[in-house]
């Protein structure tokens, strides 16, 4: 870990301005991702601005939906009555991730910005375009069992590993942001994370110095019928091989609208509009779900070691939709 200056932010404007002013400064929230990466010399900030004392941890009703503070912890978010009652999918996704201790530390803002778990990204002796643009992608022709099957480029085949964001995307979340200049803006979650393209070093569309203030959820019609499914190598405390955030709004046994988001298959949470379109107006049944699953992975291009993800994603989508519609 490189030496860095530690400062404690007292209000959002100052925090954003402080990081904005120093290209090598970073925000510190729960620290669970950035400190790990700093120890590995993957992240090398020379200044950390501690956000944890900011009053941005509130979870409250807003505009018919709910606003979740960026500095609220994963634990507090998952257990908040407003979330448990109205967005159980989000609760399920959060508690499917990490461990009790980590969720007590992890903040919602930090969680959105967690970086990939690609092994080559973590090992500074290995080539990695995300860590060191131009050095090559170690995983492309290396070990890539955990890597992407959708939306990857030959510059980077990493996945976004998180769980919470998959649910947030299914729930049409919007991210509220304050710029280094103090101006606020919002980005829909669907435009928050990026595909790697030629610039895999950039995970999201957030600019340097932009501070996440809150995540806003519109009123949801999915509270009754949603399910978060995570398939992993062990029963707990592991990243997903494939995850699915599924939600349906049912009307007389037919699907009025649906959400299908795949996790750990692409560089961002992967919403399948194709699957959703295939479901709209159809009866909630294993057959409809099967067709939707086929549609979702139609464009999948597996790598040498992750062909299984194509089949697994299909089956996981069906299972998640079955659970969401209470058919399984």
């Amino acid at each position: 870990m490189r030496p860095f200056k530690y400062t404690r932010a007292t209000e959002p404007n100052g925090a954003a301005a402080a990081v904005g002013a120093n290209p090598q400064a970073k925000f510190l929230a729960g620290g669970t991702n950035i400190l790990d990466l700093m120890k590995e010399d993957v992240e090398r900030p020379n200044e950390l601005v501690d956000l944890t004392r900011l009053k941005l941890a509130e979870i409250k009703e807003a505009g018919g939906g709910v606003s979740i503070g960026a500095l609220a912890t994963n634990t507090d978010t998952a257990n908040h009555p407003l979330i448990r009652q109205n967005y159980p999918l989000l609760t399920q996704a959060i508690v499917a991730g990490a461990s009790g201790q980590l969720r007590n530390m992890a903040t919602n803002g930090g969680n959105l910005l967690q970086r990939t778990r690609c092994q080559y990204f973590y090992d500074t002796a290995m080539p990695c375009n995300k860590r060191e643009p131009g050095s090559g992608c170690g995983a492309l022709e290396g070990l890539n069992r955990m890597h992407a099957i959708l939306g990857w480029s030959d510059k980077c085949v990493a996945t976004y590993p998180g769980d919470m964001a998959n649910a947030l995307l299914a729930l049409d979340a919007v991210v509220r942001i304050k710029g280094a200049d103090g101006v606020e803006r919002t980005i829909p979650l669907s435009e928050f994370h990026r595909l790697p393209g030629d610039t895999p070093q950039q995970d999201t569309n957030l600019q340097h110095g932009e501070l996440i203030l809150a995540i806003e959820l519109p009123k949801s019609n999915f509270a009754k019928n949603s399910y978060y499914l995570k398939v992993r190598d062990r029963a707990s405390y592991a990243f997903a091989l494939v995850a699915v955030a599924a939600a349906v709004e049912l009307e007389a046994g037919a699907i009025k609208q649906a959400r299908v988001v795949l996790g750990s298959v692409a560089h961002k949470p992967w919403r399948s509009q194709e699957a959703e379109a295939a479901l709209a107006g159809k009866p909630a049944s294993a057959e409809s779900f099967g067709r939707a699953a086929e549609a979702a992975i139609a464009d999948a291009k597996p790598l040498a070691h992750n062909a299984y993800k194509v089949e697994l994603a299909k089956r996981a989508i069906v299972r998640a939709l079955m659970r969401a519609s209470k058919l399984a």
């Binding site: 870990m1 030496p3 860095f4 200056k5 530690y6 404690r8 510190l28 729960g30 620290g31 669970t32 400190l35 790990d36 120890k39 590995e40 950390l48 501690d50 944890t52 634990t75 998952a78 257990n79 448990r84 009652q85 159980p88 609760t91 399920q92 508690v95 499917a96 990490a98 461990s99 009790g100 201790q101 980590l102 007590n104 530390m105 509270a223 029963a235 707990s236 405390y237």
Partner: protein, 273 residues
């Protein structure tokens, strides 16, 4: 590194420990620093096996630097001053901004009960309570703990009276090598509070309903952030279940008795084996 241990940051010693400290002949003529050094280590080490361990550390505490010992110029960078409470006692430290809470406890405060298993958030051995919640001290910057209340394994027992969770771990043999144990126990103690609050977990069927009673499956899932390579998981779950609900777990081992043996041998037609 400039680290100051203010007078009020000295570990509190019990009467016994104080007596023992005073009994140590080698200490009669040592200066304040060395005495303080010993006090720090003592606070972390007295116990059943303490005397032998203590003898080692006592001998070491009396060590003065060898002639010709090489030191670097201690020009530390980015020092952060902070005051935090550790097991009820205020500690004032001035640390490099890079120091994580775990290293502050282990290397600066002589509290080696919290363990380092991975330093990357992947094992749970470093679990401590900060403001009553379980967190990983290896991914917590010490600097962020200003004004906070830290409880470590050393702070759970009241004098000789073990915390019920500690006693239950012994009862159910919830450990072997003991290295993951402080983290497990801290985690377990916090988990009780989470259960009381009605927190949900990955194996909660209906997250909109609230339950405060944990099944063994619930406990297992909630303890999955604490890896035990010795594999003492069943004992850990049994210990937590008993402290949580009072439910005792039936013994899962037994000796095969002579009658059983005689019966199978007869059935087998192999009376003698």
């Amino acid at each position: 590194m400039n680290e100051e241990f203010h007078e009020n940051s000295e570990p509190e010693l019990s009467a016994d420990e104080e007596a023992l400290l005073n009994e140590m002949p080698a200490l009669a003529d040592v200066g304040l620093t060395r005495r303080r050094f010993l006090k720090q280590t003592l606070a972390g080490s007295l116990g059943l096996f303490a005397l032998d361990l203590l003898a080692h550390e006592q001998a070491l505490a009396a060590l003065s630097p060898s002639p010709g010992a090489v030191f670097a110029d201690k020009t530390a960078e980015n020092l952060v001053k902070l005051a935090l409470k550790v097991n009820g006692v205020t500690k004032r430290l001035e640390v490099d901004s890079r120091v994580v809470l775990l290293d502050a406890l282990r290397e600066r405060l002589g509290l080696t009960g919290s363990k380092k298993g991975c330093d990357q958030g992947q094992c749970g051995a470093c679990t401590v309570l900060v403001n009553g919640r379980r967190v990983l001290s290896c991914l917590t910057l010490a600097a962020t703990c200003e004004g906070k209340d830290v409880t470590t394994i050393e702070g759970l027992a009241k004098g000789d009276q073990l915390h019920p969770m500690q006693a239950a771990f012994i009862k159910y043999d919830g450990f072997q090598c003991g290295y993951c144990t402080p983290g497990q126990i801290c985690s377990a103690v916090a988990l009780l509070e989470e259960a009381r609050r009605g927190d949900v977990s990955h194996v909660t069927e209906d997250v909109s309903a609230t339950t405060t009673q944990l099944t063994n499956e619930q406990i297992s899932e909630r303890m999955s952030g604490n890896i035990c390579r010795c594999g003492a998981y069943p004992g850990i779950v049994a210990a937590i279940q008993e402290v949580h609900s009072g439910k005792k777990t039936a013994q899962t081992w037994g000796f095969v008795d002579d009658q059983q043996l005689a019966r199978v041998r007869k059935e087998d037609g192999n009376a003698a084996v």
